[in-house]
Amino acid sequence: MNKKRGALFLSFIAFILFSTNVSSHNLSAMGSESAGWIYVGSHWPGRTTYYFDSTSDTWLQRFKNGESKFESESGYKFNLYQQSSTLTENYVDDYGCSSCSWVARRGFYSIDSDHPSRWRIQFNNTKTANSWTTVAAHEIGHIYGLDDVYESYNSGRLMFGVDTGTRYLNTIEKNALETIY
């Protein structure tokens, strides 16, 4: 009976460890402008990620709108959860930079300089946007490994690097995420 319980427990642990489809290593260069997607060079090692907010309700809501958009358009294969700052080091904040030209930015940080150990998404609160929801979803796309695309024939994709307004995670980008993960 004890042997059976032990085996069951070990099987459970193995299931947890191997079922999360985690890629803990950065991948080599993938994708291209002509393919409609580019791998950004690193990605969060898991489809689920957590964050705390260090921003106002307005900016948090804008981020959450983008979060909902990305989650639903990805078929809920990727999920973000807000947590207490005592539980995670990833965060969302806003920053006032009138001399900056960017509307929002994403950073990956690491101690060993190769794999990201945490991320940050930051909104520039001195700017206006055509669609903050799309901006937020776009930045989330970077967390999961998608780079900006800039050719005009990619201007309709979520990962087009300029805030032209509402855009959607399209089939090519969804397939790209599955390739990465």
């Binding site: 260090s54 920053y95 030209s101 960017w102 509307v103 900006d148 805030d163």
Partner: protein, 208 residues
């Protein structure tokens, strides 16, 4: 033996429950004032920024999304429109730990739009761009020394200083490659036209 087992598992569950309760309990100072989640988050953010500032942690990649300006908006927002060449990198720096900038010296060949302070008498301009060699936006690369550009610039006054900024990042920057224009994202559908045609286009737009 069964009673001992029951007692053991009962204690284990109690201990686990107690641990969870204590883990999620609010912090309290010796004076009995609890920190709010907002205060804790601010402190955490400051701690993380300090790690980057001290080099304990490094930024391994960064991306940004830039605004979109129509041509009309670009021309309206620009104080200066110049054709010229980047001559040197003057200075690169961070503000607030990790907001990167570079300042370039730019030799002006032609002013297409100017004002009383910036005109044909001023041949060298100092231009500020987002990003630097420590933290370069991958999709908005730094200006290259020796390369020719048409730049739409706005005068940005801050306290005691004045900067010339490229309007809307990629919106206000046109690279010249082998005599033809190239803009990141081809935002205004002018990629591939010759520099002469582009200058004529600008002059027409400025008179509209």
């Amino acid at each position: 033996m069964r009673k001992n087992k029951k007692a053991f598992w009962g204690l284990a569950v109690f201990g686990f429950g107690l641990s969870i309760t204590l883990y999620f309990a609010e912090d309290s100072s010796p004076h009995g004032n609890s920190l709010t989640e907002e205060q804790i988050a601010e402190a955490k953010e400051a701690e993380l920024e300090k790690r980057v500032a001290t080099g304990e942690e490094i930024e391994i990649s960064t991306d940004a999304i830039f605004p979109f300006l129509t041509e009309a908006e670009l021309y309206a927002e620009a104080d200066l429109v110049v054709l010229g060449t980047v001559s040197s990198l003057l200075h690169e720096y961070m503000i607030d730990t990790d907001v990167p900038f570079s300042e370039f010296s730019f030799t002006v060949d032609k002013y297409l739009k100017s004002n009383k302070n910036y005109n044909s008498s001023k041949k060298e301009l100092n231009i500020t761009q987002d990003g630097n060699t420590l933290s370069e936006f991958e999709s908005y690369p730094l200006l290259e020394i020796g390369k020719q550009y048409v730049l739409f610039l706005k005068i940005h006054s801050e306290e005691d200083s004045e900067k010339l900024l490229i309007v809307g990042g990629p919106n206000g920057r046109y690279d010249i490659e082998n005599g033809y224009m190239k803009q990141i994202g081809n935002l205004h559908q002018l990629n591939g036209i010759s520099i002469d045609k582009f200058l004529t286009h600008i002059e027409r737009k400025l008179t509209e």
